[in-house]
Symmetry: C2
Subunit: 210 residues, 2 copies
């Protein structure tokens, strides 16, 4: 509300620095966890003095909260592609594609999110209970409709969603393990394509959508 988007040098500086800090924070939180991350290290990565971080973000927790919220938004909107799909093959296929792409483009964010949830969601518990629950109910309903219409096998919609989250986010959260098993090298474009194809193939066939 308010905060007239008066474009000026001032607002530019603010926006730029906030972004810079948030990016550095995402990286450091992903690598070290909330407890292991230090404001000093985030400051170093951002290339700013530590005191400057506290000018933009009052506390370490405030900064962390913003990082988590950012990822949560991205995460939620990935499912938009499901909504206006004619059936599970297209809808779930596209959702897998979208989430795999998130794992590839935002691995740090995915790790921060995983870490947050693993530790009991201390800062986004309320979102889980409201936004995420509604989201899940809605999408489970969509899947159930596809089942009722005979477009896919009878599976438990919620467990299918869990499986989709698990398999796609695994490529970000356990990216280091996958990289190690891949000879220490990150997946190439071709390998990412193969990964996406594998996930889609097994799941879509598993739910009787193809």
């Amino acid at each position: 509300m308010s905060t007239a988007p008066r474009p000026s040098r001032r607002n530019e500086i603010r926006a730029q620095n906030e972004t810079l800090i948030l990016q550095a924070a995402e990286k450091v939180f992903a690598e070290a966890g909330f407890g292991g991350a230090t404001m000093q290290l985030i400051a170093d990565v951002a290339g700013l003095p530590k005191a400057n971080l506290h000018y933009y973000f009052a506390t370490k927790e405030d900064l962390y909260r913003r990082v988590v919220q950012n990822i949560f938004e991205i995460w939620l909107h990935a499912a938009d592609v499901m909504d206006d799909a004619p059936g599970p093959a297209e809808g779930i296929g596209a959702y897998i594609e979208a989430k795999m792409e998130i794992s590839r483009r935002h691995p740090d964010g995915s790790k921060v999110w995983a870490s947050e949830v693993m530790h009991g969601a201390p800062v986004i518990q309320d979102y889980l209970e409201t936004t995420l629950r509604d989201w899940t109910t809605g999408r489970a309903g969509l899947i159930q409709r596809w089942i009722d219409e005979g477009k896919m096998a009878q599976v438990d919609p919620e467990h299918l969603l869990y499986m989709l989250w698990a398999t796609t986010q695994h490529y970000a959260d356990f990216g280091h393990q996958i990289e190690t098993l891949n000879g220490g090298k990150p997946l190439t474009d071709t390998q990412w394509k193969a990964a996406k194809a594998s996930v889609k193939q097994i799941i879509l066939r598993g739910i009787g959508a193809i």
Copy 2:
């Protein structure tokens, strides 16, 4: 090797306290991460003075290392059930069953493991490069044999393994999220059965094993 298992009151005390500390450490590391965990809190959970922890484990890292190694062992041996199975339906089905059971019985250990890998495996990198790589190569070969024998569809064995790890461990690592979506209550026995059945159904069907 060595360490004659001379059973005495002394060895008993040592074994008992080490176990006590390791259990407390697993819990605290799972809840707070390595950086967020404190020796004092682990000591409190174990019901021992902090100085006593340092008598049994020189440093926080030593203690952490032991916790991670313990889980790694459990993790590896879960796949034993695959080896003497006649085909993928039994072998992979049993593996899913075993890993789901680990997620249920050792959620803390699973979280510590996930955290360790997510942060770049600072303490078990060498295991990933040796033990885990061999393990993976071996199991991928087994799956490939099943494919060659026409017992299942042509899927990428490694990506199938990733999917198995992801889906089963998700129930431990993201247990809090699942619990929240389940109305704030842990899964009941019946719900765990349904979870296992869902995972098995989709994957086994997805790989053409049933």
